[in-house]
């Protein structure tokens, strides 16, 4: 048996022409914008990043046009994780559709289920029992903390710091294990149901939560001390990727990214759902709008989440956790938009019912998708390495972007 020779790059048959920066046939421009992007001026070249790049938080390919070390323009290529969740949901019944939405943003699954559940409950005029509402708030806030701690680690990792992600995972693993004790799953919880939640709080969850709460604030503070006063981190992110409030509104930005630009828009307060109106919390904002502000807003939100969890644990009423509903749900024809404030922004689901047991159309709106648009405008003129710092501070999750 002869071993097949691997082709050498010196072989003229596989050699890459020196004037080409494409490893594949260069794309034919289809639009004005793409034609502009594909036109190289003196001194410019394309650099490909991804689709398997550690700092893209998933499978994202970014084509960067550079001039020397400076980013001139960039073009994200999406679709590597596209699963067609909306089409799948249209062909599933209302209960099944919820579990399809779980893997959208796999670091904050509970918000991805909360949005369709909210929309379906509006379609069906279901009243959620008070205890179930409190449980939802409790689990969502835990999920938010898990997501934000992971963001903290990722952000530092993208800027070259290895230690913070190890510390972040300590917190996150504890929360994830806690939720696993409650829901039976570590990541894709599938816990919310139309009309309530899948099961009442159990002993293991409560005891772990109690232990964690007793040290959470101190632990998170020490995590923050690791980064917040790190000179390299602060100098690298301050003034980088500045997004002003007006542009942010025009670009459809929501969540911490918008609040870091000084707009105090938070659905939990502006368009209250569940029991949020009864809870006391602040909406942290910053005016700078740079990467550091986006990071700090999220860190402030962790503290508010702990505050909310504390109140929820004190005020949790007794009672059922599921409304009484028929097994087969056939809502009347109509339209509903359910939205929740997630760790990245507004998670929305627009559901249309035509009177059958399957949604006629289910649109999933994901904040990461909108925020990823900003990477281009925010990184122009910066260094290539700062693309990652900006992208990390916007905190997109590709599972949600690609649906």
């Amino acid at each position: 048996m002869t071993q097949q020779m691997r082709p050498s790059l010196d072989d003229p048959r596989v050699a890459i022409p020196a004037d080409s920066t494409w490893y594949e046939p260069a794309p034919i421009p289809q639009t004005e914008r793409q034609a502009e992007f594909l036109t190289l001026r003196e001194g410019e070249m394309f650099v490909n990043m991804g689709p398997q790049h550690p700092s893209t938080h998933g499978v994202l390919r970014v084509i960067i046009k550079v001039n020397g070390e400076k980013v001139v323009d960039l073009d994200p290529v999406l679709g590597y994780l596209h699963r067609g969740v909306e089409k799948l949901c249209e062909n599933a019944d209302y209960h099944q559709a919820i579990c399809y939405t779980d893997p959208l943003e796999y670091v904050s699954s509970l918000f991805c289920e909360a949005a369709p559940v909210a929309a379906f409950e509006k379609l069906m005029d279901v009243d959620v029992p008070r205890r179930a509402q409190y449980i939802r708030v409790l689990t969502m806030e835990l999920n938010r903390i898990a997501s934000h701690t992971l963001f903290q680690g990722w952000m530092a990792l993208d800027l070259g710091g290895i230690t913070p992600i190890l510390w972040a995972f300590i917190e996150r693993d504890e929360i994830v294990d806690m939720l696993a004790a409650l829901t039976g799953q570590k990541l894709l919880y599938n816990y919310y149901r139309i009309g309530g939640v899948n099961g009442d709080l159990n002993h293991e969850f409560m005891s772990r939560l109690g232990t964690w709460m007793s040290r959470a604030a101190a632990q998170i503070d020490s995590n923050l001390a690791l980064i917040n006063e790190n000179e390299i981190f602060v100098r690298r992110t301050r003034g980088l990727g500045v997004l002003d409030a007006k542009t942010a509104l025009k670009m459809g930005v929501t969540g911490p990214n918008l609040r870091a630009s000084g707009v105090p828009f938070d659905l939990r307060r502006d368009r209250p759902y569940l029991v949020y109106p009864e809870l006391e919390f602040d909406v942290p904002t910053r005016d700078e709008g740079d990467s550091l502000a986006r990071y700090l807003v999220r860190m402030d939100e962790i503290k508010q989440s702990i505050r909310i969890i504390d109140q929820v644990l004190h005020e949790m009423p007794d009672g059922p956790v599921m409304a009484k509903l028929p097994r087969l749900l056939r809502p009347r024809p109509g339209r509903a938009f359910g939205a929740v404030e997630g760790p990245r922004g507004v998670y929305g689901t627009y559901a249309i019912s035509d009177g059958t047991d399957q949604p006629f159309r289910m649109r999933i709106h994901d904040p990461s998708f909108v925020h990823l648009q900003l990477v281009g405008p925010l990184t122009k003129g910066n260094l290539i390495a700062d693309t990652m710092a900006v992208m990390a501070s916007l905190d997109p999750v590709m599972g949600g972007v690609d649906k």
Partner: protein, 183 residues
């Protein structure tokens, strides 16, 4: 608050509305004709009485008989949310004016609607496929796009026309699997 919005919308747009303002829970809904869509959106955005400055969502809808484009707006002064439905886009060649002149952030959402439904947004500078490959020919979220397991229950009985590159010469018009003209 919401009742005031309904009266205001009725007063401002009056005869332009295709249906009376509908309100349910915290959502208001208006329907405007295709030719009035841009003007309505601009008024909703600029008028100091409304100030719907945030585009929360933009999506396409295929009812099986026509295409629709649906905007969800949020007001930055009153906190109201409004759904603007633009029905009556031709199913064979749906076209509508782009909203990117007002919300540049709508660009990718329009690209998605183009990718999934084939709706052309006139004025969008970057209207090309976003999820599917560039050489992909069909529009997956249309109601005549067969899923693999639809074959058993579809009228076309086992004919799968998903990922069909171009329409065969002898093909009859694709069967719409599920229609809901009412929505």
């Amino acid at each position: 608050m919401d009742r005031r919005l309904a009266a205001l919308l009725q007063e401002k747009f009056g005869e332009r509305l295709l249906a009376p303002v509908r309100q349910r829970y915290d959502e208001s809904e208006i329907r405007v004709a295709l030719k009035d869509a841009t003007d309505t959106l601009r008024t909703l955005h600029d008028d100091p009485a409304f100030r719907f400055e945030m585009l929360i969502d933009l999506c396409g809808v295929d009812t099986g008989e026509e295409m629709q484009v649906v905007y969800h707006l949020s007001s930055s002064t009153s906190g109201d949310w409004l759904r603007v439905i633009v029905p009556g886009l031709d199913r064979t060649a749906p076209r509508i004016a782009s909203a990117t002149f007002m919300w540049p952030g709508a660009e990718w959402m329009e690209r998605e609607a183009y990718d999934m439904f084939g709706i052309t947004f006139e004025g969008n500078r970057d209207l090309r496929r976003i999820y599917m490959p560039d050489d992909y020919r069909s529009y997956p979220l249309r109601k005549d796009f067969y899923l693999a397991d639809d074959a058993s229950r579809s009228p076309a009985a086992g004919v799968r026309n998903m990922e069909r590159a171009g329409t065969p010469a002898d093909a009859t018009a694709a069967t719409v699997l599920r229609k809901s003209p009412g929505v």
